[in-house]
């Protein structure tokens, strides 16, 4: 290897190590004082006894809720930074089964009707199963969480072409305002105030990173009448470089 190239490699290795350590510090050392804030608040609340002024109680709840958000943001940052390092196993999945598993994981979907359409030559494929699951789950979860109607319709369409699986996940919810559609893939961005829907705003950023990693692309488009349409392609052949 020529000298400058070697130096670059060494720098890269050092930077990677530094980053790993940084992530570890964020995950552990910052969580400790964060937990202390919640715990001490609970103790004070506890020590004040049952006859506490409602304002004080409300403020305690606000305090704990915000630290809860902080924890979710930390966990999301960690997840984002580890996208290409964890759960990188290639294994055989059946795409319809994977979609069904994600629907199961959503929990209570009593008011949701799922419309599933598949156009697949072979239902099974060898891929980064956990990553694909994460993307499908997040998009379905968003479709339901941000929905504004009691009865919800969610559509999943998967079409196989020569090189890719084309996924379209859409809903008949409120859609995303035109002026913010370029920001939705940024971490912690939420179209609504976090007080309206308590969301971390990390799901789409993580999906975007996963899809880019496998060599695909995700796009948002507004629905014809209402709702959101998320389209992404997932290459049939994925090479994992370690």
């Amino acid at each position: 290897m020529i000298e400058p190239e070697k130096r670059c490699q060494e720098e890269l290795t050092a930077l990677k190590k530094e980053f790993e350590e940084f992530v570890y510090i964020v995950s552990h050392d910052i969580k400790t004082p964060m937990r202390a804030i919640v715990n001490i608040a609970t103790w004070i609340e506890d020590d004040l006894g049952p006859d506490v002024n409602k304002d004080i109680l409300d403020n305690f709840n606000l305090l704990k809720n915000r630290v809860g958000r902080l924890e979710n943001m930390m966990n999301a940052l960690l997840e984002l930074s580890r996208v290409n390092r964890t759960k990188m196993e290639l294994f055989e999945v059946s795409i319809p089964k994977l979609v069904n598993d994600c629907i199961e994981m959503l929990g209570d979907t009593i008011n949701v009707e799922f419309h599933l359409t598949y156009n697949l030559l072979d239902k099974k494929c060898i891929t980064l199963g956990k990553k694909l699951e994460k993307v499908i789950y997040s998009l379905l979860h968003n479709a339901i969480q941000f929905h504004d109607k009691v009865q919800k319709n969610v559509f999943v369409e998967v079409i196989e072409n020569e090189t890719d699986y084309e996924f379209v996940i859409s809903d008949d919810g409120p859609g995303i305002p035109e002026e913010v559609k370029d920001k939705i893939f940024s971490i912690f961005y939420t179209a609504n105030s976090k007080d309206v829907v308590d969301s971390t705003g990390a799901g789409l950023a993580i999906c975007d990173k996963i899809i880019k990693m496998v060599g695909g692309k995700i796009q948002y488009a507004p629905g014809l009448n209402c709702g959101s349409i998320f389209k992404f392609n997932w290459p049939k052949t994925i090479t994992v470089n370690n």
């Binding site: 570890y24 995950s27 552990h28 050392d29 969580k31 400790t32 964060m34 937990r35 202390a36 919640v38 715990n39 001490i40 609970t42 103790w43 704990k64 630290v67 809860g68 924890e71």
Partner: protein, 136 residues
């Protein structure tokens, strides 16, 4: 039947976490004696010096100064007199490597410190169920 309460050694460097365990003990009406060591070195001294009487159980944090939880476990498992003590790891570390290292050193349980105190009380209640069995 004479019941002998197990003595609990908490190895933990964070003051709030120590207070948390004490509070959770009182919430769960746990009367066992609680001894506290601030790191692995201190814990070994207390165990070897007979400060913590038998029978005993250890609740162990991983990230600590001087000697961390994993290093402490390694040394303890090599000590003839200490190697059979039940150890519960209680930590914020959700790292797979920490979990694997701990289980390889034969721990009875791995508890992630939850953010909320209520959840922590529940975790401690589960622990109590376990060591009540040891007291029979």
């Amino acid at each position: 039947m004479i019941q002998k309460l197990v003595n609990i050694l908490l190895v933990e460097d964070d003051e709030v976490d120590v207070m948390n365990v004490k509070r959770a003990f009182s919430k769960n009406n746990i009367k066992n004696d609680l001894f506290v060591a601030g790191n692995g070195v201190e814990a070994l001294e207390m165990l070897r010096g007979g400060i913590v009487p038998l029978p005993r159980i250890i609740i162990l944090d991983i990230n600590m100064p001087k000697m961390n939880g994993i290093e402490f476990l390694k040394e303890m498992r090599e000590d003839e007199n200490l190697k059979n003590i039940s150890v519960f790891v209680m930590t914020t570390s959700n790292e797979d490597s920490d979990k694997i290292n701990a289980y390889n050193l034969n721990v009875a349980g791995y508890i992630l410190k939850p953010l909320s105190f209520e959840k922590f009380i529940a975790s401690v209640a589960t622990l109590k169920d376990f060591w009540s069995l040891c007291e029979m």
